[in-house]
Subunit: 189 residues, 2 copies
């Protein structure tokens, strides 16, 4: 069996997700994932450094794609809306079907090890936004607030969007969260 | 030497911090920490489940203390300001001197393993706030936004406050960040 067989990575991801759902993340071994994907354990480690990373293999590319939009945007002077819009208008379906993303999110929420990994990936996106905004001339605390708050507002919207039966698309759910936030901050400040 | 000697926990924390600074977090072993604190390795594990937790031993108590303030507050109808005020008015000096906190923050920022742990602790504080606000009758997305955004705004303020030479106290630094945020959100929303 060729080790770098076409489709191995996708099969490994699919097998891992199935097993995590069937047996739980902790009780699934790398050997079992490899076996179900019909590859060797060694092949698994060619694609992923550890069991957690199967769920985060897109994250470096995702961060780079999102942060690159800051560099090109004519709206750097509205940093919080810019970050929110970049996140809410990204084509998240490229990360897998909504059903897949819902299952992935449930797995992450149920496993502290996965949650830790997810949080550091999200943090690195926020920091990426802040750094890119600073390079666009935005002052430090403003750039930090835009990156960090923008990511959090998006996450609240994203979790709503993943709920079964939620009708609105992600962009308008994000806008609606931003209006909530706007009403939560006193005008007098 | 008695194993539950008075002061062991404090000595272990002090020894760990010194060694992390001298040798780096990764290159410091639990054995070395125990040796410098003049206790056995077994004593170390009576106090801390792993090397990372030495820096987070206060975090459960801290979360409980912060979240409890939501239950008692007459200002649950202004959830974002309430969360911000609780965080910015907390007596952070009880967590160690500002110099100690500055060193701790630098260690966390430099070690992904520590950063992961820090982020999950902060996340649990945000979730604690949101849950407590929901129990006070605040609707879900508002409670989530208040918890998550409130913690992020605080963190930007906290990092500023830790900067050498920063003059303003944490409460007014927090207020100033909230005013920045207010000006970043369009009135038209």
């Amino acid at each position: 069996m060729p080790r770098w067989e076409v489709g191995s990575e996708e099969r490994l991801k699919k097998a891992a997700m199935e097993l995590f759902e069937e047996k739980g993340f902790e009780k699934t071994s790398v050997d079992e994932i490899a076996e179900r994907a019909s590859v060797t354990t060694r092949t698994f480690f060619r694609y992923f450094p550890d069991k957690r990373e199967v769920l985060f293999s897109e994250s470096d590319g995702l961060r780079a794609a999102l942060v690159a939009k800051i560099k090109q945007s004519p709206h750097a002077n509205e940093p919080l809306q810019l970050v929110s819009r970049i996140l809410a208008e990204f084509d998240w379906e490229t990360m897998g079907s909504r059903d897949f993303q819902r299952k992935r999110q449930a797995l992450i929420a149920a496993n502290p090890e996965l949650l830790e990994r997810d949080l550091i990936k999200l943090h690195s996106i926020a920091v990426g936004f802040s750094d890119a905004l600073r390079r666009r001339g935005i002052k430090t605390p403003i750039a930090q607030l835009a990156g960090r708050v923008g990511v959090q507002v998006f996450l609240v919207a994203y979790e709503r969007w993943l709920e079964v039966g939620h009708k609105a698309d992600l962009a308008s759910t994000g806008e609606s969260m931003m209006s909530h936030l706007s009403r939560m901050i006193p005008r007098s400040l």
